[in-house]
Symmetry: C2
Subunit: 438 residues, 2 copies
């Protein structure tokens, strides 16, 4: 032990995750050292307020408000402040000083990752960020290393625990979105302002990161189509359930042939119907999972806790030990992962199956009219089911039509739905939801 | 592209997996090169019989029977021959010549891994073997790297597709073991001689590898308690199902406190009851999955195809590209993973819950007698359920008693079962099965 060198670790931020990282670095120093080949010495923790309450009892003398100075004296910098600035400037400063950086800052990576990766490459240091996607789940390293000899064709991820908790509540209790959200807030799974989660923005940042690594091309937020879960109703949930599906908010990145021999990648986030037998359908509560389809490996799934201080700290520490081993062993950084150059495709180029719910007039010939209209738009129907409801009091009949299509483009589907709305036999279009994994 | 260096790749063995590895190296050379930072040139394939039928059409001039010479001229050697010799000698020869080695040979690793790892460390080359456990699933690299800053407490793996297929058939159709095995053989999931699979030997080799990486200590086959699935009956399956469980063959490695402050690791393979809600319970057919519990990360699961030429080739290629990147970037090997020194524990030291089925006399006081006996042996009962059957013709009543215990040691349970057998009110002990994940 005594002959091991010491690497200085600076921690920026001491919230939920940061406090746990500090605790582990201190408590587990003895077991981390031999695994790493070096002692990892926590030399300081930069915070805004020295007197803030912390979840973990940490030595007072580690804290400082002077992040700039702390960063300049470290071999390894862990950035867990979140937000764009000063996180970006501090990371750049660390890289320029020759430190390797570990971050969990998905917003920064989605907004400005490419510039940071380039700086790290130039400086020959590592910039790693396993904690930015799906918390504790090792997903970025397996995509980058384990699947480096394969071709990923599609990634489907449940990467936001808040929305998965809400949708799971709606599915299991029949609750409306607003009630399930309130329950999630009460239990601490959703924030007071839940916008970033329920509108899909958090998942979109993760989708950009997953797509970039999976397809060896740099995608950022502007390439991601994003639709949240606020419009998913209890009726949608019930209809999906009856048809053997569950509704999940998925981050999707998939390679699509353009028909002319060229290829592109569709990156998107939206509520999605999944067959109940699909491995992702069993991901309950606030858990996360990423389902990867590759040409040779076939179907893979990675499952675990997507948030929380301690689980996310595990991912940060894994990156830290790996970066430290690299420093001990020598050798500059890693091979660039952006060797592919596939374009990002607009949402209109994506093809999925669709589930469409229609409130229709109970007249003869309605089904034929609608089927004809779908055919005219090139959208093939896989399943069509009509249910007649009779009001016991009024004796008035109403009909509900549920359609599952074969794979169709967003554009064709949108045109079909527009046309359907114009039919006189249609009272309303009650739901339009995408289906994956069928 | 033109300025990239070339690394020579030698392939030993051209069976199921080897043929797919060769195909991918040839067909995907263009996409692999930029990801690797070098051209990977397949310089030869060593086989026993030059004229054997291959699954894939490969250039004839690549084949040779002279493995020794082939190995001496390669930067990277892929060993997919299986068996102990000549695989071991060829791997040692490759390492001594400074080549990095990728292998999928679990039998060799379980029998003689430590000696090979040491040679690789001395020579400063990589010896990687992701394909040896759970086929296409990236599990060894995540354990080694992603969880390097965490403490794994337990690993539960479905790592043998043949037995999972058989147990899944028995669970879903009610078939007996022999019939499910015959079906698996008919479909190509089981070999003509299924011993290595159904007796748990294949899973035991994988358990030794998983335990070694998870607990930073070298375990080999002699440390693994092994019990196959041949004695699992349709009645066991039905009873498990009724009680809300499914039976899986699990490879288990878990850290256990010895009560005196010291710790050890129990490594074992046996049929195990899992609650139907457990993520591993949903792993159907020939799929594999590894469930990992770590102090900080919590529960993680890795799921995918555990066998098959193309999926396993994906894992081999991932190792190959990673080893090649290391050669390109420079830097010697990796940090030793055997920094822990926890002892392997005998099966008697393992504690699990147990499911016990008893055929008992239908008399007053039987439950009390049995409960008393469990208590005397220090085995705590969690659930006890009695079902009375009345034969309609004879009007004779028989009673079936099903007990689920709290965690108990193998030793305490064995003593309890022995004592139960001696009770006059017991007709027979119909099943004793371990329970995990409850």
């Amino acid at each position: 032990m005594t002959e091991l060198r010491t690497l200085k670790v600076a921690l920026l931020g001491c919230g939920n995750v940061g406090a746990q990282v500090a605790r582990i670095l201190i408590d587990d120093a003895g077991t981390l050292a031999p695994r790493t080949g070096a002692r990892l010495e926590l030399v300081g923790i930069a915070v805004r307020n020295l007197d803030a309450e912390r979840e973990v009892d940490l030595p007072r003398d580690l804290f400082t408000t002077d992040a700039e100075t702390l960063v300049k004296d470290a071999d390894l910098v862990i950035e867990l402040m979140g937000g764009i600035e000063p996180a970006r400037s501090l990371i750049l400063s660390a890289i320029q000083n020759g430190a390797s950086v570990v971050t969990g800052n998905k917003a920064l990576l989605a907004a400005d990752g490419p510039a940071l990766y380039e700086e790290a490459d130039k400086a020959g240091v590592e910039l790693s960020y396993e904690a930015a996607v799906a918390g504790a789940i090792p997903i970025l390293r397996p995509i980058r290393d384990s699947l480096s000899g394969d071709r990923i064709t599609r990634v489907l991820g449940i990467v936001n625990g808040t929305t998965n908790f809400i949708l799971d509540q709606m599915d299991s209790t029949g609750a409306q979105f607003a009630d399930a959200l309130a329950e999630a807030q009460r239990l601490g799974y959703a924030e007071a302002d839940p916008t970033a989660d329920v509108e899909g923005h958090d998942a979109a940042a993760k989708a950009a990161i997953l797509a970039s690594l999976s397809f060896h091309t740099r995608f950022d937020l502007e390439h991601v189509y994003c639709e949240g879960i606020t419009r998913v109703s209890a009726a949608d949930m019930a209809a999906a359930k009856e048809a053997g599906f569950v509704i999940k908010l998925l981050a999707i990145a998939e390679k699509i042939g353009n028909g002319d021999g060229s290829e592109g990648v569709s990156v998107r986030v939206h509520p999605t119907l999944l067959p109940r037998e699909h491995p992702l359908a069993a991901v309950r509560g606030a858990f996360n999972a990423v389902f990867v389809e590759a040409e040779n490996a076939g179907e893979l799934m990675f499952y675990g806790q997507g948030a929380g201080g301690t689980p996310t700290a595990s991912a940060v520490l894994g990156d830290l030990v790996s970066a430290a081993r690299r420093i001990v062993l020598g050798g500059p950084g890693r091979i660039e992962s952006t060797t592919g150059h596939v374009p990002a495709l607009p949402i209109d180029a994506a093809t999925t199956s669709y589930y469409i719910g229609l409130d229709v007039a109970d007249q003869p010939g309605v089904l034929a009219k609608i089927a004809q209209l779908f055919a005219e738009h090139g959208v093939s129907i896989e399943i069509m089911r009509q249910t007649i409801h009779r009001d016991a009091d009024s004796n008035v009949e109403s009909a509900e039509l549920r359609i599952v299509t074969h794979r169709a483009s967003e554009a064709a589907l949108a045109a079909t739905v527009e046309a359907v709305k114009g039919l006189d036999v249609i009272n309303s279009v009650t739901s339009v939801l995408r289906v994956e994994g069928a």
